[in-house]
Symmetry: C2
Subunit: 193 residues, 2 copies
Amino acid sequence: MSNTEPAAARRRGPNDPERRARIAKAAVEVVARRGIDGVTHRAVAAAAGVPLGSTTYHFATLDDLLEVALVEAAEKNVHALKEWESALPPDADFAAALADLVMGYLNEQYRDTVVEYDLYVAALHRPRLRKASAAWDDALIAFFGSRTDPLTGRLLAGLFCGLLMQAALADPRPARDEIETLFRRAIHGPANP
Amino acid sequence: MSNTEPAAARRRGPNDPERRARIAKAAVEVVARRGIDGVTHRAVAAAAGVPLGSTTYHFATLDDLLEVALVEAAEKNVHALKEWESALPPDADFAAALADLVMGYLNEQYRDTVVEYDLYVAALHRPRLRKASAAWDDALIAFFGSRTDPLTGRLLAGLFCGLLMQAALADPRPARDEIETLFRRAIHGPANP
DNA sequence: CGTGAGTGCGTACATTTGTACGCGAAGCGT
DNA sequence: ACGCTTCGCGTACAAATGTACGCACTCACG
């Protein structure tokens, strides 16, 4: 019953890289749908459309699955951020752009946002995930610093992380203007120059 | 085997309030030790020193346990913050004080910090927990705003939330000075007045 | 003391889970 | 063409888990 592609799976030779990648993406999907504790070998196998034995073979332990999910999500996120930044005009209003970015994460990319925080926080209890989480942080800090200065970049990274999480849980969601005002306040300081 | 106090437990009459409270605190403890997905009726019962049936009676479903753990942790945290704030001299350097606060959460109170983020993020997947998380946020924002102005309070709440989380995952931990500089930058702006 | 309701808990059961193990198929050296 | 090693997976099993159910014990009331 768990064999969804009886012959096709066998067809592929050993060391099929697509298999691992499919399972990794499926792991992210399962986190999005059922949260961290919904990540089981069986759930991921079902989401990936592969038999149970395949997930246990490519990722022997559950932490392996979580690790690959975290790396996958982090890479995707950092890549998207870089794309976003390179598409941003050099003279753009950074506070407004950041507000748009946050709003995007709160709406169209809400699922991604949830996954990211789930996995990120999961690292608190799983030493093996810490390196990936820390690398993610560094990428964020460098990313925000590239448009400003290192100190402001660090500030924006922390604010972005906390604000987005709070906004994702708030009901009703904060307004876009409020977000923009906060970023403006963070970048330019209390007085309005 | 699960009956750890055979007679004493029976001794207490119905509607024993201490029982519920003990289980609630035990739930927080379990989250601290094993994370959200370590919260099972049995684990909490063992931590509370009560039989399994007692936890299932007072908290029928697992979400009930998580909810009470979240409320318990949030109340304790907000209460501690208020104590901290009232013990702070009115003319204290707020940035330095906030840096001390963060360092406290990173060291002596690290366990509490982990629990708080675990439960907070767990609300992303559990609608029942959202109200408690949102209330926690509001308390934080009001708390930070009481020493400054509403906008700065909102900024500090977001920064505090994100920065503490990133710092809790960073290896090595950020230095106290770095934290203080960030808060100073957030409060007073880019120029150094 | 008798009795009835309701509180608190011990237990059993079906389900889900991680994981170990064994078997077939594919590559490869000869 | 033939064995041998490695790869990939199906399966079985023991442990853990949520939850339903029923029993004991208490207390109010007569």
